[in-house]
């Protein structure tokens, strides 16, 4: 009984699913038809604006500003410096910031972060040459 039911039901279900999925496949994809570039496509092509924003976010952090201040460098100066970077350099800097641990408090993490900031600052001052984007 069960087997017989399944025998009839299966092809029926398959047809139903097939028909159900057809109109979806046939519908044109909204904006693609008219040729306008979608916001999603524009965003994924323009990563540098988002990266610049991410760098600003890091520079806005109190712990980072404290480090900069301790090195005698004004935030203004660093911001101007970042604004002058090319898109490729911004990408590089954002990647380096990404690799930094976000933690605070821990001695090792703090030290790593301090090293990065000190090198960044000394690079900008022309004393060291670790990060190519400061050139």
């Amino acid at each position: 009984m069960m087997k017989k039911l399944r025998l009839y039901l299966t092809p029926l279900l398959i047809t139903a699913f097939l028909i159900g999925s057809m109109p979806v496949a046939a519908t044109p994809h909204g904006q693609a038809e008219t040729g306008l570039v979608s916001t999603q496509a524009a965003l994924s092509a323009d990563s540098s604006s988002a990266e610049r924003e991410r760098i600003s976010e890091v520079l806005a952090r109190a712990d980072v500003q404290e480090q900069l201040l301790a090195q005698g460098v004004s935030l203004d100066e660093v911001e101007k410096r970042v604004a002058a970077l090319s898109d490729a350099e911004v990408h590089q800097m954002a990647e380096q910031l990404e690799q930094l641990p976000a933690g605070a408090g821990g001695g090792v993490i703090g030290a790593l972060f301090a090293v990065f900031i000190i090198l960044l600052v000394t690079d900008i001052l022309g004393l060291t040459d670790v990060y190519p984007f400061t050139r």
């Binding site: 916001t39 323009d46 109190a62």
Partner: protein
């Protein structure tokens, strides 16, 4: 990946960890935060639902969704976000579930300043913490609902405890291990204060791809009101107007986008395509020429369209 602390089993562990973490350094706040925010705030209207077992994800979502006026029960959220095999909910699914309920999740900037700013503006924030140590994670979602600067504490609805007060430094130590991940939710047509334009644009754009342009349009309008200088915001608004058939408004928004940033090739390109559709050949040629002159991913398409005129 994220799973939630099961209090009964882990109370002893937590106590030990608390002792270990007690020496964490006090987190710094920006002077502007200290000067501009009220000294304290508590969002009493955020309801509390105690988690059961490891279900802090669904519980946290139910609290913020209900606070925002979405009528949904924690029981209904559990199958949507909870992964039994992992005893928890992953971050992207938390955001996706918010979108399924017609609200927009906005991931906040990873800093205490940003968190307190959201709370001060009346927005509860779902935060992801690692209550233990990086090598032995104990992931946990909670809802931040208030803060007090004089005592340096944060108030959370967390796990089985409502109005759980925690020192800012301890909270920050546990939050930092999730790279300070957190989000706030808004209904379409509102954009959180103090969220940078690109974060907001990405959040609305993802919502748009799930819930459609019609649902996202009010948020694009709100975005350009909050960030009138954002060329990308006007670009997105222009696209949304176009998609719902408001071509004149679309053109207006795109014109504003290129006025704010004349190096935004993609806006020149879309403006040119719209002018072409309106049979304004001169304007179409002008906009497409600008797009074709800018190096970038849209140059080829602009040149090709220009050649068809």
């Amino acid at each position: 990946m994220p799973f939630c602390l099961f209090y009964a089993r882990s109370a002893g562990v937590l106590l030990l960890m608390s002792l270990l973490l007690g020496c964490a350094a006090s987190p710094r706040l920006n002077d502007s935060t200290l000067n501009n925010l009220p000294p304290g705030d508590l969002l009493k209207e955020v309801p509390f639902y105690a988690q059961r077992d490891y279900q802090c994800g669904p519980a946290s979502l139910a609290m913020v969704l209900n606070a925002a006026g979405v009528n949904v029960e924690m029981e209904n959220l559990i199958p949507q976000v909870f992964i039994p095999g992992r005893k928890g909910s992953v971050q992207s699914e938390m955001l996706a579930t918010v979108r399924r309920h017609g609200m927009i999740p906005f991931p906040i900037e990873g800093s205490l300043d940003a968190l307190l700013t959201q709370l001060a503006s009346g927005q509860p924030v779902v935060v992801l913490q690692n209550l233990a140590l990086p090598v032995w994670p104990m992931w946990h979602y909670a809802v931040a609902i208030g803060y007090d600067l004089p005592t340096r504490t944060l108030t959370l609805h967390s796990g089985e405890i409502s109005n759980h007060e925690m020192s800012l430094s301890r909270f920050d130590a546990t939050w930092a291990r999730s790279e300070r991940w957190g989000f706030t939710i808004m209904s379409p047509g509102s954009v959180p204060e103090a969220i940078r334009p690109f974060r907001a644009i990405e959040a609305i754009s993802t919502f748009e791809s799930v819930q459609g342009v019609q649902a996202a349009l009010p948020s694009w309008k709100a975005l350009v009101n909050t960030h009138p200088d954002s060329a990308m915001g006007h670009f997105a608004l222009g696209n949304a107007h176009y998609a719902v058939g408001e071509i004149k408004k679309s053109r207006q928004a795109l014109e504003q986008a290129v006025l704010l940033d004349e190096s935004l090739g993609v806006a020149w390109l879309n403006l040119g395509l719209i002018e072409r559709q309106l049979n304004n050949d001169v304007e179409a040629r002008r906009a497409l020429s600008r797009a074709a002159a800018l190096t970038g991913p849209w140059q080829t398409k602009a040149q090709e369209t220009l050649n068809t005129l």
